[in-house]
Symmetry: C2
Subunit: 266 residues, 2 copies
DNA sequence: TGTGTGTGTCCGGTATTTCAGACAGTATGT
DNA sequence: ACATACTGTCTGAAATACCGGACACACACA
């Protein structure tokens, strides 16, 4: 939906992508997988070729290699492909290579069960915020979010914590200007955002509401590495009309559990 | 340790693996990821180069590309790398692309909780059996197994179900001869194995004990695709001394749940 | 101090792979 | 019936990614 913006934006000065650019197979693989992740559904080879702007013949070859390796697999009967079994195994290996992850998972399970609210594990991916894992509330109506979707950092509570090791200048350089513009057109003032970060750094938590959407109240608490760095956050996503007493109760619980999961004191 | 055999061995007659085999980057990537999966721990670039039998310079380049893409990430401070965040996301996407998976996960959680036994989701990967997911018993001593480890098919109960669509000849062609040899030296007779498969096909379940190891009793029930094909099995791993009445009780429960998860009748 | 082993980077040549385009086959719409 | 659009496979040829090997550096051991 937003992909042929390439042409439009690139038009003015930079010859961004000419047709004939020979690229490495590896790079194509990486682009392919990321495109598929963004697409969030099985796709046909021809479409993939367009998505990553690669020749069809090349794309076929790559896709076939990945199919052989089970990194992709055929879905349905009409040439759609999506991630395959091997990806599941690689991902699982990533998740479990340290015992720490087990504890995080258990905590998320427990919190989701106890509170009945949506619990998320969040981190950064490049200069975007991303949901790494998610436990939903069991009710018929739930606020859920897909793991892997990328969101501008300023839209999120977690983002304020995840940037708290940066200086103001570093933050300014790190965040694309357009990421300060919310979906409804409002723009977050850079100074206010920097103040939020400083605030989050001091308090050891962060709360936002009505940023990414109008109906959620988000609270995030840091999971610190041994070094003290914050690479992930634990996060509760509440309906915006959750009453204040319950909110502070939940915030306290969230902070407590995050503290227990941290490898360094909060 | 076995890598400079190239020169020595190659001399007499067989050019088993000559040093100079140029390979595509893509293939290297695939080999690298699978090697890392088998290794099950972070590894250094030099070691990876040996594992996949690739030139060091090439390996460095590939690893750096994958690091940039977050498909790998640095672990610790001394040059170890392992799967990265992107892999987690790709794997998650694989797991959740169909609603079916949600139900399977829920069922595994429920069964693990109710029975207190180890529950596994199993499938094939090439001509090996592989654990796709696993819920452990909560007790202090548990029979657990790692997701992603590959095991010869004849060693497993699930394997008998997963081959039940094949003719005898197909099975014979599919299973490497050496896979009939158990770890303790015993050899499974091919005919007995084929009979087991036929049996599993008729009964709609399969049980084994004392094959892969001496202390487990495994029972597997098929998860059928819409087409009727069996691509995955649900599996209970019990201590071998579990009394018979409880075994049949658990088997019945297992079959019932597998039937509910199947997209075609069992 | 010297010897051995391993790391991370760089370079130039060539064996290979990517690419463009053509092809036959199939589905869709007019 | 024709036209259009897409799929999956092949081909030759040019561009280049991979390789071997060299380098500087770091660490361990004797």
């Amino acid at each position: 939906m937003t992909n042929e913006a390439i042409e439009v934006l690139g038009a003015d000065s930079i010859p961004v992508q000419r047709g004939g650019e020979r690229k490495r197979g590896i790079d194509r693989v990486i682009m392919l997988l990321e495109a598929l992740l963004k697409h969030r559904a099985p796709a046909r080879v021809g479409d993939i070729a367009k998505m990553i702007n690669a020749p069809r013949s090349t794309t076929y070859e790559i896709v076939n290699s990945l199919l052989d390796a089970e990194m992709l697999e055929n879905v349905g009967s009409d040439g759609h492909v999506y991630f395959g079994r091997a990806m599941h195994l690689f991902g699982w290996a990533y998740s479990h290579h340290n015992a720490h992850y087990r504890r995080i998972i258990e905590t998320m399970d427990a919190m989701a069960a106890e509170t009945g609210e949506t619990v998320q594990l969040c981190g950064l991916r490049g200069n975007k915020y991303v949901v790494l894992d998610c436990r939903g509330s069991p009710g018929p109506f739930r606020i859920s979010s897909d793991v892997g979707v990328e969101v501008p950092i300023p839209w999120t509570a977690s983002g304020r914590l995840l940037l708290s090791h940066m200086s103001d200048d570093e933050v300014r350089a790190f965040i694309p200007k357009e990421d300060f513009r919310l979906r409804d057109g409002r723009v977050i003032a850079q100074d206010a955002f920097l103040a939020d970060i400083a605030n989050a750094r001091e308090q050891g938590f962060s709360e936002t509401s009505g940023l990414a959407d109008s109906f959620t109240w988000c609270m995030a608490a840091p999971l610190r590495e041994r070094s003290g760095a914050i690479t992930r956050t634990l996060c509760l996503v509440l309906p915006v009309d959750t009453p204040q007493p319950r909110r502070s109760e939940l915030l306290a619980a969230l902070r407590e559990r995050a503290r227990n999961l941290s490898l360094a004191g909060n």
